[in-house]
Every structure is written in structure tokens, then in C-alpha cells.
């Protein structure tokens, strides 16, 4: 079992009306708990989540570092999803 803290920012946070959630991923056989798996669990919530969390539309950071969807998640990781950044 893996407990994760998931954060959302920018337009994504606004459209899904969620800033933060705690989620538990149950180990499914030998399948790895990756960012891709978490993304698909979240996308299954409804059409808005599916659209705005789509790969390419929402970037991801694990423990405050931008990373890719094949990253394996560990217990107590902080995962953040957000649109491509627009600072500066």
C-alpha cells in the first residue's frame, strides 16, 4: 500500500475544484505504482479530470522535482500535477 499526497496547481486546480488530496494505491500483483498509474486512477474520476490530467496537458513533479510518467512512487511521496508553467 502506498499513501500519497497529491497537489494541483493553476488552471487544473480550478477546473477540478481540488487543491490537494490524499490517495492510497493498493499494490496490484507485481504491477509498479508509477506516476502513469496514479494519473489514470485520477483521470477515471470524471470527464474534466480525464481531459485536464491528460498526458502532455498536465506535467508532474514528485517530491518537488519535475519528472516523467514512468517514475515509481513510494509511500509518503508528494506528487503534483500542473499545466505547463508560465512564469517570468
Amino acid at each position: 500500500m502506498v499513501m500519497l499526497k497529491v497537489l494541483f496547481f493553476g488552471q487544473l486546480k480550478e477546473v477540478i475544484k481540488t487543491e490537494c488530496l490524499n490517495i492510497e494505491i493498493i499494490q496490484n500483483g507485481k504491477q509498479l505504482n508509477t506516476v502513469a498509474k496514479l494519473r489514470s486512477i485520477l483521470q477515471a474520476k470524471d470527464n474534466t479530470w480525464e481531459e485536464y490530467l491528460a498526458y502532455g496537458k498536465a506535467l508532474v513533479a514528485v517530491n518537488q522535482e519535475m519528472t516523467s510518467d514512468d517514475t515509481v512512487l513510494c509511500d509518503a511521496d508528494e506528487v503534483a500535477f500542473f499545466p505547463p508553467v508560465t512564469g517570468g
Partner: protein
């Protein structure tokens, strides 16, 4: 005084002359000091903008900015580096971001300053929402910014 790296994320404005002096006073060996200031424009994509709202991911922002400076320091021999980025509500013509770099000769400072801004624009977790005559909307990332970032690698 000696060379330093300064990373600041704050809601309040900054004083360019003060930041310039800090960089200038940091050492006597650097002959170049390049500064960049980003401002809130009054138009974007043909729409009139009245203000911006800048959101960020606090736990991540300073980490990323520090990494960008570290990366710049591996590419050029730099003296002091300072980045200030503002968050919250900003009106037209207000200052958004400051990047200041010193080096012995101008080329390193010019290049490093541009490199830091190009990385900041695509890697640092800030998001802008603008208030326009057509309502509020989140700004979308630009392909031209992604290209500038990729051109460095």
C-alpha cells in the same frame, strides 16, 4: 563581500537600484553586470490586460530556481547571481521578475542571464492568470519558450 546566489520569491515589489548595488558590491573582480527585469504588459494576444495573478508551488519554486543557477554556474564562470520573482496580484507595468548576473567579462553574464530566464520560463512552477476585458483567463505556455529552452541542450 564575496560572490553570492540570492533566490527570492515574494509578493512585494523590489528596488532595481538596491539589487544592482548588492551585485556590484559583492566583489571587485567582475567587470560585467547584466540585469533583466520582466514587466506586466498591457496587452496579450490582442486583448487588453488590466492585471495578472501569479500562482506558484512554494515547496518547489526555490529548489528549481537554485538548480537553474547551479546549472548556469557549470556552463559559465559567474560571480554573483540574483533571482527575484514576485507572486500574487500584479498590475500593468509592475515588475514581475529580476535576474542579475555578474562575471569577469560580459559574454558570460549576457549568456547566463538569458539561460536563467529561458529555464525559469519553462521549468519554474509559476502560473499566470490574466484579467482582461474579456474576463479572467490562464495564460498558456508558448511553443517559442519551449524552443528557447531546448536550444540550450
Amino acid at each position: 563581500m564575496s560572490h553570492f546566489t540570492q533566490i527570492v520569491v515574494q509578493a512585494q515589489d523590489f528596488d532595481l537600484a538596491h539589487e544592482y548595488q548588492k551585485l556590484r558590491n559583492s566583489n571587485d573582480s567582475d567587470g560585467a553586470l547584466v540585469t533583466f527585469v520582466g514587466l506586466v504588459r498591457d496587452t496579450n494576444l490582442q486583448q487588453s490586460v488590466s492585471s495578472l495573478y501569479l500562482e506558484h508551488y512554494p515547496a518547489m519554486t526555490e529548489k528549481v530556481l537554485n538548480k537553474i543557477v547551479e546549472k548556469a554556474r557549470t556552463k559559465w564562470l559567474l560571480g554573483s547571481v540574483s533571482i527575484i520573482h514576485r507572486v500574487g496580484r500584479l498590475d500593468v507595468s509592475e515588475q514581475i521578475v529580476f535576474v542579475g548576473v555578474t562575471s569577469q567579462h560580459r559574454q558570460s553574464a549576457y549568456h547566463a542571464n538569458e539561460f536563467i530566464m529561458d529555464y525559469l520560463k519553462t521549468q519554474a512552477p509559476f502560473w499566470k492568470k490574466e484579467t482582461t476585458t474579456q474576463g479572467d483567463k490562464w495564460i498558456e505556455a508558448k511553443a517559442s519558450d519551449r524552443k528557447k529552452f531546448k536550444d540550450w541542450s
